[in-house]
Symmetry: C2
Subunit: 207 residues, 2 copies
Amino acid sequence: MDQEIDTLQISSETPAQTPDKILLAALKLFAEKGYFNTSLTDIANAADIKITSTIYQHFNNKQTIALTLYNSIFDNLNASVDEIRQTNEKSSEQLHGIVNLLFKLTDDAPDVMTFLLLLKTSDFLAEQKPLLETPAFVKILKIIQIGIRAGEIRNIDPMVAMAYFFGIINNTLSMILSGELDKKADAYQAQTWLAAWNLIAKKSTCF
Amino acid sequence: MDQEIDTLQISSETPAQTPDKILLAALKLFAEKGYFNTSLTDIANAADIKITSTIYQHFNNKQTIALTLYNSIFDNLNASVDEIRQTNEKSSEQLHGIVNLLFKLTDDAPDVMTFLLLLKTSDFLAEQKPLLETPAFVKILKIIQIGIRAGEIRNIDPMVAMAYFFGIINNTLSMILSGELDKKADAYQAQTWLAAWNLIAKKSTCF
DNA sequence: GTCTATACGCCGATAGAC
DNA sequence: GTCTATCGGCGTATAGAC
């Protein structure tokens, strides 16, 4: 894996090189139809390539494409979490920053968020961990643990707090991505953050 | 589809007929490995059948097996929701009954709940609706709408209430099924119900 | 580095004997 | 109603020309 595209910055203006075109086409198709319903022929067609063999110049196999996307997305997420932790002090601020990022990504890069939330990556990336065990979410768990010790967050099992907090956030975003909620993520952002945060915060204002 | 097993009552003592053995084997394998990672050969082996052709005596194709499971599970869920609505008056009681059912199913029939919550059925049952548009969940939406009119539930978009309420419930159950939460569903039932209900209830006690 | 041509295997599905 | 045998096709992957 000597090539890494910044999958979270799809809108970059640089004309895509072939490996990037393949990755972007694959991301789009995986998000649309799922990994198993997407053939290499589909990817080649969507990436302005005549035939599948060209793909093998850049990736060992189909799984590697998915793995590269996976690593790219989670590396970026992980880096964003790091930055948010550094520029914010309190757990509430850090979590708020992360929620804002996820909502922004849902509007700006829905394919990335679909890959993140809706695809069951363990079906085609056998060795990959579930969402909440990825480095980014392990750090989020830490934020919650620190928040509990600091008295910001109620004293409950941190994993349960994760379950509740991201249950609200991820389910809301999933329903936006699937169209069950019909407005842009931006329209739900403020109230969803409040709902999720008040659920785990120590001093809940109950709206 | 002239045969319908009660997929939600796996523990029934009657010795399984061949179609039922096929369905139960398929359910288990789909929940374990996913639809696309499960071949008809896998299903035949797991169902005490020598070869795949026997399967075609009972089902038109692989997709039909999945569809039969899907219909069976959702028919049962729908019937349970009907019964809960008939035996309970208030929206809070009806929702509580549904939550209790889902938690009980998670412990008693984890494969059914995995099919329900973790499998992306639209990938292999193209015509099927997302979870929240199934008859059972449409009725649940009605319960919420009635609850809002009755003053039991806060006056917010019913779909948003669904998103929050079942975000907590389904994510908690998903994490139990995947092992990210390590106790039985029963251990989380009471507090998770309270968290989800207080989130949408009008007069929240905030614990 | 992209394309032509092709190999290979797996899996879904069918025909037909018993 | 279950099994033997086999087909056909799709999709991954490779070899090699240009």
